[in-house]
């Protein structure tokens, strides 16, 4: 993978110097701050709505740290994953359409290094941002609530992170395969909704990476861990997806 180091350095500098540093990390920190606050305020908000309707009585248990973590995970599962899809759609096709890939790839930079670097830099950004967002969520929850059950949040986030890395690989593959970023984003959203749908099917959830979707939500509630299948198949899918993305990009004319 010739040129890997030089291109990774470029990618990391690009993240630091452009909008990319703000989007995913900004979202995660924002949700880290707001999730505990929303969890704390939700009962009061619901009660205020109920008082405007005579005869309606709503019993809401007092909010806990688990509600804050649940709110945080819900935001990761929806908005952050969609942001990953949208930003990832242009990760290869954007360089192709702007002509920057042509200048780089006519130098001693292999196409494999180009694709793998894209995956790695996005993953590094996501890991740092997720760690930061989770730490902020734990800290704010500790202030707003008693902060108990933090270990369960970390487990849930770890499952989510594995699924998010798989999504990064899928988006890199789609961005290498499609000429237009719109098509890649559309296909990525299709993949996201399909996995959500299929994860409701028991056998699929037990024996494939689809189980990570449920594992993320269940980790906050149950002590028991899912079987190794979802984790193992996710790792295999990440590796296979990366290899396929490289092969597709190597065959493309620029």
């Amino acid at each position: 993978m010739t040129g890997f180091g030089a291109f990774l350095r470029k990618e990391l500098t690009e993240i630091r110097r452009t909008w990319r540093i703000w989007v995913i990390p900004g979202m995660l920190v924002f949700f880290g701050i707001t999730s505990p606050i929303i969890a704390a305020l939700t009962p009061a908000l619901v009660r205020s709505m109920a008082t405007s309707q005579p005869g309606l009585v709503i019993q809401i248990p007092p909010p806990t740290a688990r509600d804050a973590y649940g709110q945080f995970i819900k935001s990761l599962d929806q908005l952050v994953l969609i942001a990953i899809i949208i930003t990832g759609a242009s990760v290869v096709s954007g360089e192709r359409s702007s002509g920057t890939a042509i200048l780089a790839l006519t130098k001693p930079l292999s196409r494999a290094a180009f694709v793998v670097t894209k995956i790695l830099s996005q993953t590094m950004l996501l890991v740092v941002a997720t760690t930061l967002g989770t730490a902020v969520c734990l800290a704010v929850t500790a202030v707003v609530f008693d902060g108990a059950g933090g270990a369960r949040l970390v487990t849930a986030v770890a499952y989510w992170l594995l699924y998010a890395v798989l999504l990064i690989v899928v988006m890199t593959l789609l961005s290498a395969a499609f000429q237009s970023r719109g098509a890649a984003a559309g296909a990525g959203l299709g993949f996201y909704f399909l996995t959500l749908l299929l994860s409701a099917w028991g056998p699929a959830a037990r024996h494939s990476f689809l189980g990570l979707v449920l594992a993320t939500q269940r980790a906050l509630v149950f002590e028991s861990q899912p079987s190794g299948w979802p984790i193992a198949t996710a790792v295999v899918a990440i590796v296979l997806g990366a290899v396929l993305a490289v092969k597709i990009f190597e065959r493309r004319e620029l």
Partner: protein
Amino acid sequence: MTGVRSDETAAIELRGLSKRFGETLALDRVDLVVPPGAVFGFLGRNGAGKTTALRILSGLARPTAGTAHVLGHDVERATDAVRARIGFLPDVPGFYPWMTAREYLEFAGRLFGLDSATLDARATALLEMAGLAAVTTRVGGFSRGMKQRLGIAQALINAPSLLMLDEPTSALDPIGRREVLEMVASLRGRTTVFFSTHILADVERVCDAVAILERGRVVVSAGIGELTARASANRLVVEVEDDAGAVALSDALARGVWLRSIEANGRTLRLAVSDLPTAQREIPVAIGAAGVALRRFEIEETSLEDVFVELVGGSTQ
């Protein structure tokens, strides 16, 4: 052997190279040899297939048929070691807008594995050459001409054995164009320069040799001098003392089997001939027979433009 040719004399060698996009044949069995050390012009109208050929030579596209070799290596199997000896500038270079010109040169140099000291020295020299040494703004704010000059600088960062430039002067103002052409000319003998253009004056100014591409085919490939001499050998100018004499002489010459075309402009006749020695013998006889007073009779000096127009027909597609 992995695609290495035993004959490594040619910097570029295309054999029967074809490229098809659906129904369109962009390159049609192109044969071309570019000798090492030459400044070689790849001339053709827009859409003739120049960029397609350069994309294949730089490994960005694959041929439909035929072979392309650079520095003795098949481009489809060229290793990084081969790519490290090539500099390339596409027709519209794309840069990362958040970088400065120096940062881009450093990025390019690191891809070539240059050490810090060499990279720093080359980047400084090339920025100076490109007139960008004092520019600190990011590339996103550059004009097209500035980007083109940075594109040439990045193509030279590895001190290449072969420099391939696609329309390098098309976005430049007259001064920038002159500077680029002087830079290209200064590389003669040290680096093979292969550049595509549709600007005849650029080719005449700096090239040793030229290939003319028309509708995906090389219609001629030769040294500039040889090409214009070959064309001159078939053109004659006859100037007589009055218009009536020119008309009479034109009628007389029209019977010559060696005459390909005749163009009358007042007292001057321009003739394209197929057999120069016969024409040189018979025209004075015809002048004498017509009783016309002769003012001038000579072989016409031909420019590359005349050759180009003659070969590609002068029509627009």
